[in-house]
């Protein structure tokens, strides 16, 4: 049932229209007696079509139509003027006021019916269109929102990247919102850095998906100082499980060591890397040796790396195939030769030279793949320094503790690790974990070997004896019945400097230093050398049975 609003100030006109519509059937009729009421009826009744008289007191049909049309927004409610004016005038009036059609008075019922039907059909189409528009708007909003969320994932996955402009210059340009090229750089814990440049087959979101696992593996393994071949192996293994067959990841993973003189490279399916000396000489072209990642099974995978000597200020150029495969308007490719020639003649400004050349070459042609170009400068990146700052106004308490190692403890492979962990629960001590472990280990080894097991260190002068020494040591240890090594630790602060005092006493004969002065002979007394060098003060008491070590924290 379509709802029709009839607007006319003359009651007989309204009645005539109403009866006509009733005769035609399928219409519900509402009425208004002037323009002003027409507006309120429109808002209240929401009719599907309006039949509007023009000449009315208290706002005429034209003004009312204009105002009603303004209120409609995207909705389309046809307004047909019912008028006694001449056809030409009526049409102009109707259209200029925002009306949609007119019908002359007296009206022909057939003409009225067909005009109404035609306009109601347009209204229906318009409604369908609006519904679809709303749906599309909703879908688009959802999509945009999802895209934002996905971008958030990607940004977080790669934001750890150490893109220091001293080391790395890069240009990345993706052909869609998501980039199938991946550039990750991270400093190695012990100094130097790792870089990975890769390219997933395809582009867009599907290609970019793999960035997440790749970045996570890369950063994790770099934090463990893994070798580049091992990183490649792990990424290969994970991608092989995750990606559909036919999809793969070409990649170069490289590591520059802390001395900036050795470059280790694992390269699978990537275009050449060019290495230039500071003086501008092309030193090396590094070629890919392996298949892309994500294809081979674990047992087929080859993690062999290439190792190159480099010097400070050498520059290395890496790029994805989007650079050499970029096309100009004649469908020619930029090509390896053009890239190499641009690099060789680029002198001090190779990076910009390549980008400019590439820009000029492709002109206004649309990009057909993700493009990445990287310039890497071999420069020293220092080791990461852990922050061990104490909170302000922190007041450390002095403490003492002692640990007695039994025979059972000595038979386990490494009681010292346990001991170190106990001490490192305390403030100021934890930051010395590495050195303390070594120091305690040497103290312990000396007490055990010389004090308790009574094996002479001079025995270790050649390889055969060396092995023999450890064999006798383990035999002696397994026969040992009753013994202990006692550690006493005291922590104190003197003139704002924290110290750890270590006193060691074993149940055996203790140990008196023998050849500590003989430090040139590397095979002798290394353990004691380490103890002396790491400690502030070393002394012996009770005729060499007790060792006192002062360690500066």
């Amino acid at each position: 049932m379509k709802k029709i609003l009839i607007v006319d100030d003359i009651v007989t006109n309204r009645t005539l229209l109403k009866q006509t519509l009733r005769a035609l059937g399928g219409y519900e009729v509402v009425e208004a007696i002037n323009g002003r009421e027409a507006i309120s009826q429109y808002e209240k009744e929401r009719p599907d079509l309006i039949l509007m008289d023009i000449m009315m007191p208290d706002m005429d049909g034209r003004e009312a139509t204009t105002l009603i049309k303004e209120k409609m927004g995207n909705d389309y409610v046809p307004v047909i003027f019912v008028t006694a004016l001449s056809a030409e005038d009526s049409l102009t009036t109707a259209l200029s006021a925002g009306g949609d059609d007119f019908i002359g008075k007296p009206f022909n019922v057939e003409v009225l019916a067909s005009k109404m039907n035609a306009h109601l059909r347009i209204r229906e189409l318009n409604q369908q269109l609006n519904e679809k528009n709303d749906l599309l708007t909703d879908l688009n909003q959802n999509l945009t929102h999802e895209q934002e969320l996905i971008e958030y994932f990607f940004e977080n996955a790669i934001k750890q990247s150490f893109l220091d402009e001293n080391i790395i210059k890069y240009h990345m340009s993706s052909m869609s919102a998501f980039n199938g090229d991946v550039l990750l750089v991270e400093r190695a814990p012990g100094g130097g850095f790792y870089l990975m440049l890769g390219d997933f087959s395809g582009h867009g979101l599907t290609a970019a998906m793999g960035t997440l696992p790749v970045a996570m593996i890369f950063f994790k393994m770099v934090s463990e100082s893994a070798a580049v071949g091992d990183i490649a192996q792990e990424i290969n293994s994970q991608l092989n499980k995750l990606m559909p067959s036919g999809m793969f990841f070409t990649a170069t993973i490289l590591e520059l060591n802390v001395r900036s003189d050795t470059l280790s490279v694992w390269m699978g399916g990537m275009p050449e890397n060019y290495c230039f000396s500071k003086a501008g000489k092309l030193k090396n072209i590094i070629h890919s040796q392996h298949m892309p990642l994500g294809i081979l099974d674990d047992n087929e995978f080859n993690s062999e790396t290439q190792v190159f000597s480099v010097q400070a200020e050498d520059k290395i150029y890496l790029y994805t195939d989007g650079v050499v495969e970029a096309k100009n308007n004649n469908a020619e490719q930029f090509g390896d030769d053009r890239l190499k020639a641009t690099l060789v003649t680029g002198n001090d400004n190779r990076f910009d030279a390549v980008l400019n050349e590439l820009n000029d070459f492709t002109g206004d042609k649309n990009q057909n793949d993700d493009i990445t170009l990287v310039e890497l400068t071999c420069r020293h990146v220092p080791a990461l320094v852990e922050s061990h700052n104490m909170p302000e106004n922190f007041h450390a308490l002095s403490w003492h503790t002692s640990v007695s190692l039994s025979v059972e403890d000595m038979r386990t492979s490494d009681p010292v690790k346990n001991l170190t962990n106990i001490l490192c629960a305390m403030p100021y001590v934890s930051r010395h974990k590495g050195v303390l472990y070594v120091l305690l280990f040497e103290i312990y080894a000396n007490s055990l070997d010389h004090g308790i097991l009574n094996i002479k260190s001079a025995d270790k002068t050649n390889d055969k004896n060396f092995v023999e020494y450890y064999k006798r040591r383990s035999e002696a240890l397994s026969k040992l019945e009753e013994a202990s090594i006692n550690f006493y630790f005291s922590f104190f602060i003197e003139k704002e400097q924290p110290f750890l005092k270590i006193v060691v006493q074993d149940s055996g004969r203790g140990y008196k230093p023998e050849n500590t002065s003989n430090s040139d002979d590397l095979l002798h007394g290394r353990g004691l050398g380490i103890i002396h060098n790491f400690s502030e003060k070393v002394s012996y008491s009770d005729d060499g049975k007790i060792l006192n070590v002062l360690y500066k924290l």
Partner: protein, 102 residues
């Protein structure tokens, strides 16, 4: 704890990776890793300590014995990727005289 060995650059470089604490518990594994002396004679030897947490004096002994066994002159065997504590130990024991410590 384990020792992994790898050849690279067309078999010209032999690298040993030592994981965890480098001490006497690795003695046999370590000796076994370079036992193919004939093959290793003319190779560049690298000891990669990127995964080594600590070393002790017996590990120093093992390194010296390897240098002897492979008959390599001083400063030819490279020791790379040491952490701070390990580097400090090489320094105070004067190992930089015998090995190319990075």
């Amino acid at each position: 704890m384990e020792i992994i060995t790898k050849f690279s650059n067309e078999n010209k470089i032999f690298t040993m990776y030592i994981e965890g604490d480098f001490n006497f518990s690795l003695l046999h594994q370590f000796r076994k890793a370079y036992s193919d002396i004939d093959v290793l004679k003319d190779k560049e030897i690298i000891v990669d300590l990127r995964k080594t947490l600590t070393i002790d004096s017996s590990a120093l002994g093992m390194l010296l014995n390897m240098q002897k066994d492979l008959n390599k002159p001083d400063n030819e065997i490279k020791i790379i990727n040491c952490n701070d504590v390990v580097r400090k130990i090489f320094h105070i024991t004067n190992f930089e005289k015998k090995f190319d410590v990075e």
